[in-house]
C-alpha cells in the first residue's frame, strides 16, 4: 500500500517538475524559433513551432553597425569591469580589515542606499555632465556610467568576501615580516580570487545588459549592442525603418550567450552574490 502511495506522489512531483521546467524553458526555445523565421512567417496565421532556416543567425552580422555595436559592448563591459573591481578591492580590504567603528558602518549603509538607487534618477544630470565634458557619444561616458552604478554592490561583495577570510593567515604573514598591505596582497587576495571573479562577472553582465543610459548617451559612434538590438525591435535600424523581430531574436540569441555562460560558471556562488551575502547559497 505504502509503495503505491509513494509512486502516486512521485509521479505527481516528477510531472510538476518537468511541467515547470518546460514552462520556464519554452520561451527561450521560442526566441530561437523566431530567430529562424521571416517577419511574414512570424505574423502568418499558421503557427510555426520550429525555425525554418538559420540564415538570420549569420546575416544579422552583416547588418550595418551590428559588429561595431557588439564590439562597443565588449569594450565598455570589459573596461567597466576592470576599473570597477580595481577601485573596489582597496575599499573592500579597508572596510574588512582597517576601518572599523561607526564611520565604517555608516559607509556600508550608504553603499546599500546607493545600490537601491534607481539608475534613472541620475539620467538627466549625468547627461548634462557628460555633454559638458564633451563625452556624449563616446565609450568613455558609458564606461564611467557603468562604474558609477556597479561600484556600490561590487564594494559590498568584495568586502563581504574579504571579511569571511580568516584574519589569522594575514597575522601570521605579518609575523613573518610582511607589511599590513603586503600580507593582504600576498595571502588574502589570492585566496579570494573566486569571490573577485564572481564580482567581476556580475559587473560585466550588468554593463553588458545596460540599455537606458546607452539609449540616451549614444548617437552614432558608441552605439552598444543593446541599442542596436532595440533599434531592430522597434524598427529604427540603419537599413530600414520596419521592426524586424526575426533579426532581433537572432541578434538576441548571440547577445545572451556570454551572460548564460557566465551564469553557469558561477552557478554555485550566484545566490550569495546576488543577495550581497545575505543568503549563503
Amino acid at each position: 500500500m505504502r509503495s503505491v502511495v509513494l509512486t502516486f506522489k512521485s509521479v505527481f512531483l516528477y510531472s510538476a517538475m518537468y511541467t515547470s521546467l518546460f514552462l520556464f524553458l519554452f520561451p527561450l526555445f521560442w526566441l530561437f524559433r523566431t530567430g529562424g523565421l521571416m517577419m511574414s512567417e512570424i505574423f502568418s496565421l499558421t503557427t510555426y513551432w520550429f525555425p525554418q532556416r538559420l540564415t538570420n543567425y549569420l546575416t544579422i552580422w552583416s547588418l550595418p553597425g551590428i559588429q561595431g555595436a557588439y564590439l562597443h559592448s565588449i569594450i565598455i563591459s570589459a573596461a567597466a569591469t576592470m576599473f570597477t573591481v580595481s577601485l573596489a578591492i582597496p575599499v573592500g580590504f579597508s572596510l574588512a580589515r582597517l576601518s572599523t567603528g561607526k564611520a565604517a558602518a555608516n559607509f556600508l549603509d550608504s553603499l546599500l542606499v546607493a545600490i537601491a538607487l534607481p539608475p534613472v534618477v541620475l539620467l538627466v544630470p549625468f547627461y548634462i555632465l557628460m555633454s559638458r565634458l564633451g563625452l556624449v557619444d563616446t565609450l568613455v561616458a558609458l564606461i564611467i556610467m557603468n562604474m558609477v552604478f556597479n561600484l556600490p554592490f561590487t564594494v559590498w561583495l568584495v568586502y563581504s568576501f574579504f571579511k569571511d577570510l580568516p584574519i589569522e593567515v594575514e597575522e601570521s604573514g605579518m609575523i613573518d615580516g610582511c607589511s599590513r598591505l603586503g600580507a593582504f596582497m600576498r595571502l588574502s587576495l589570492p585566496m579570494s580570487i573566486t569571490g573577485l571573479a564572481v564580482a567581476a562577472i556580475l559587473v560585466f553582465i550588468a554593463s553588458w545588459n545596460e540599455l537606458l543610459y546607452a539609449m540616451v548617451l549614444t548617437q552614432r559612434n558608441s552605439v552598444t549592442a543593446t541599442v542596436a538590438i532595440l533599434d531592430l525591435v522597434l524598427g529604427r535600424g540603419g537599413g530600414g525603418a520596419m521592426p524586424s523581430w526575426d533579426q532581433s531574436s537572432a541578434a538576441g540569441i548571440w547577445f545572451m550567450i556570454p551572460t548564460l555562460l557566465f551564469a553557469l560558471i558561477m552557478n554555485k556562488y550566484l545566490v550569495r552574490a546576488l543577495t550581497l551575502g545575505a543568503v549563503k547559497g
Binding site: Y48, V91, L123, V124, V148, L211, M215, A278
Partner: protein, 287 residues
C-alpha cells in the same frame, strides 16, 4: 588598531570616494539643484523657481499614473514570484532525480538579458500566432492583443514573473536547505502532519530568507525599464508607463530638464524608504 593602519584604511578609500563624488554625488546634487529651476522646454534656465516642479509633479496625472503603474507591477510581480518561487523551491527540495539539473536550467531565464526577455515576450504574446493564441484558439477562445490594450500591465507582470521567479526560488531553496534535518525529524516524531509541519516549522524558519527575497526583488522591480520599453514603450497610451520611462520620456522627448529632475528626486525619496527597510533586513540577516 594602530594609527598607521587607520591612515592606510582611509587612504585606500580615497580613489573610490573621489570617483563617486565626481560622477555620483555631484550629478545627484546638480539634479536636486536643477529640480528647483523653472520648468522650461529646452536648455535649463539657472534661477531659483522654488518647489514649483514638485508641486506640479504631485498633481500631474501622468506622473501619478507612472507611480501607480510602477507599484502595481512591482507588488503584483513580487507577490506572484514569491508564491511560484516557494512552490518551485519546495518541489526542488524533494529527493527527486534531476533536481540539480533543473536548478541550473532555471537559472537561464533570470540570466537572460532584460532586452532579450522583452523580445521573447513580445513574440510570445502575439494575438494570432503566439503559443498563448494557439492554446486559447484550441479552446475556441480569442487571445486578445494584450500588449495593445490597457492589459499590457499584466503582460509586464507575466514577463517579470517568468524572468525573476527563479531568483526567488534559488533564495528560498537555499533557505530550505539550511533548515537542519533534526528539527524536521523531531517534529515528525511528535506526530506533525505534512501541512502543520510546513505551517509551523518550515515556514517560520524560512521567513528570514523570504524577507531578503522580497526586499531584493522590490528594490530591483521598481527600477524596471528595459523589458517594459521593449514590450510597450510604456503604452498603449501610458497604460504601462513606469517611472523610469516617464522620466526618460520627459527628458529625452519633451526636453523638460527641471521637471524630469524633480520627478526623479521624488522617485529617489520613495526608493530610499525601501532602502532603509533593506538596511534593516541586511543587518538582521547578517547577525
Amino acid at each position: 588598531m594602530s594609527r598607521v593602519s587607520k591612515r592606510l584604511g582611509l587612504l585606500l578609500l580615497l580613489p573610490m570616494i573621489a570617483f563617486s563624488f565626481v560622477f555620483g554625488m555631484y550629478p545627484l546634487i546638480f539634479s536636486i539643484f536643477l529640480s528647483f529651476t523653472p520648468r522650461v522646454f529646452g536648455p535649463p534656465e539657472y534661477w531659483f523657481a522654488g518647489p514649483a516642479n514638485y508641486v506640479m509633479a504631485v498633481g500631474d496625472d501622468f506622473f501619478r499614473n507612472s507611480v501607480s503603474v510602477t507599484f502595481i507591477i512591482s507588488f503584483g510581480a513580487v507577490c506572484l514570484e514569491l508564491l511560484v518561487g516557494l512552490a518551485l523551491a519546495l518541489l526542488l527540495n524533494e529527493k527527486l532525480r534531476g533536481t540539480r539539473l533543473a536548478r541550473i536550467a532555471l537559472l537561464l531565464p533570470m540570466m537572460t538579458p532584460p532586452i532579450v526577455v522583452g523580445i521573447i515576450w513580445k513574440t510570445m504574446l502575439l494575438p494570432t500566432t503566439g503559443p498563448f493564441a494557439f492554446v486559447f484558439r484550441s479552446f475556441g477562445m480569442d487571445w486578445p492583443n494584450i500588449l495593445g490594450t490597457s492589459m499590457s500591465i499584466l503582460a509586464v507582470i507575466l514577463t517579470d514573473v517568468w524572468q525573476n521567479t527563479p531568483f526567488v526560488m534559488l533564495i528560498l531553496l537555499a533557505g530550505l536547505q539550511s533548515i537542519p534535518p533534526p528539527i524536521v525529524e523531531a517534529a515528525e516524531l511528535d506526530g506533525a502532519g505534512r501541512f502543520p509541519l510546513f505551517r509551523h516549522v518550515t515556514l517560520p524558519l524560512l521567513f528570514p530568507v523570504m524577507l531578503v527575497a522580497i526586499i531584493f526583488r522590490l528594490v530591483s522591480a521598481v527600477k524596471i525599464f528595459d523589458t517594459v520599453y521593449v514590450l510597450t514603450q510604456g503604452g498603449p497610451s501610458f497604460a504601462s508607463e513606469v517611472i523610469s520611462i516617464f522620466v526618460q520620456r520627459t527628458f529625452v522627448f519633451q526636453y523638460e530638464i527641471a521637471y524630469a529632475s524633480a520627478a526623479s528626486i521624488i522617485f529617489m525619496i520613495m526608493v530610499f524608504a525601501l532602502a532603509i527597510v533593506m538596511i534593516r533586513v541586511m543587518r538582521w540577516s547578517q547577525r
